[in-house]
Symmetry: C2
Subunit: 273 residues, 2 copies
């Protein structure tokens, strides 16, 4: 999917919501465990209930790998089930030496057919660039993450006066264009959005941390949006686990709708027609 197509989807659905399919088998409603493939069944119902409200889905691979072969099967089936017009992010946080990253790119873009994969920057250029250059496919590079541990290294100030995450952004924008690279910027650092947007004006940011991890949609939208929206705001647990009963899909719809309506309001103000 191109940046242009993604923005068109955002405008059409009045939503820049990404739903994280962190489909932990220990947390899905118990009545689904009767199915042959409970994770797939759960995802299918979540997708049916939310597909009109979001532009992207983001399965986090940990929840599938934890189940071994069965988990991979559930993941492949889920990706196949997601409607064509959605942007699919394999949240894998990969990154390895050049020849190995190339294989990961093959795994996610060709074998799994995801639109994007999240990549960790620690190993540098030759661990990131092999994911670039696939037409319509994207690298989403970790910059400033939403978790408490983001404070351990990402905020360390370098001798050049920039923090590590600023260095990552300033370096990586030389590797990939805004048409093939995005950055992860956690909603738990809303005060940083203005500065980070200035570093990478045209890039999309994938923003986790809204919902279960805390974070303010209005504030990050105010400071983080650009002229092509430039934000995909992810919510996982607060939508998919809004209920653990038989009404889970209905409750997921309601939780997604609440966010989508807030987004529609923000988009209307930002892009009046």
């Amino acid at each position: 999917m191109t940046r242009h197509e993604l923005f068109a989807q955002i405008q059409q659905k009045q939503s820049y919501l990404c739903i994280g399919l962190d489909s932990d088998i220990t947390k899905i409603p118990k009545h689904l465990l009767e199915y042959d493939d409970p994770i797939y069944e759960f995802n299918k119902q979540i997708i049916d209930a939310t597909k009109d409200l979001c532009v992207a889905y983001k399965p986090n691979l940990a929840f599938y790998e934890a189940e071994g072969l069965k988990g991979w099967q559930a993941l492949e089936k889920t990706i196949h089930y997601i409607p064509e017009e959605h942007f699919i992010i394999a949240d894998a946080k990969r990154g390895d030496i050049g020849n190995t990253s190339k294989l990961y790119a093959k795994a996610f873009f060709n074998t799994l057919n995801a639109d994007a994969v999240t990549v960790a920057p620690y190993m540098g250029e030759d661990s990131v660039t092999p994911f670039l250059g696939f037409p319509g496919k994207w690298v989403i590079l970790l910059a400033l993450t939403s978790n408490p541990g983001s404070k351990n290294f990402q905020f360390l100030y370098q001798e050049n006066g920039q923090s590590l995450y600023e260095n990552v952004i300033n370096t990586a924008i030389k590797w990939g264009t805004p048409d093939e690279m995005m950055f992860v910027v956690g909603a738990t650092h809303p005060e940083k959005f203005q500065e980070i947007r200035a570093l990478a004006p045209d890039y999309f940011f994938l923003v986790p941390g809204v919902g279960a991890q805390g974070g303010e949609l209005k504030e990050i939208s105010k400071y983080g949006m650009n002229e092509h929206c430039g934000l995909l705001v992810n919510s996982s647990r607060s939508i998919i686990f809004a209920s653990d009963g038989e009404d889970f899909a209905e409750k997921a719809h309601a939780a997604a709708l609440e966010i989508q309506q807030e987004m529609a309001e923000i988009l209307k103000n930002k892009f009046p027609s």
Copy 2:
């Protein structure tokens, strides 16, 4: 496997060699493609030919994930085939927010039954510590990697006067003991081993970069060894792809033997009986 048991294996085999099962299906001998599961067949023959010469095997997950479900099957069968006394490293370079890292730990330690998993430090404490506290299981944290991209961020000097990889080591030794944590230190930086050993005297280092990536066994052993050896030196392509003909296993044996003999010599000098 405990640190004590690992050192006992090293002494018994007179080897601290780890063999990387980077079993790229496009690089394995063509005659194996006739088999139902060519990657597994390749690994089986490599393991049979080298198991007496190494103490550890390290499948890099990229080469399995690239093949989707079939790849995971090959990986599970390979891990099952590796003899009990070998230390098995899932080279996955994972790392995610706390609840997600916990699932990855389950994937690698319980589902796959690996002894160790490589973890990327960028996301900090809550992305690393969920891998700790599994008896006999290990986190191998990326510190100074062997690839050219290691220079992008790992050498950046922080305001405290330490480079990023030094900060990672100094911080992480507060999270995990030498009985549950190791560090990746690339052989392509031999001049750094003395300093890094001083930072983490009792920890094992997993050392990639010998062989196809360059690097000097004698020098890293001289400066990197501690009183319990403290080194696992990995070689992947120069052993497993020593030949692409029908003699590949034989040639892998010869390549591993050459390294093992050099290691035996070094161990004899370091630990005279």
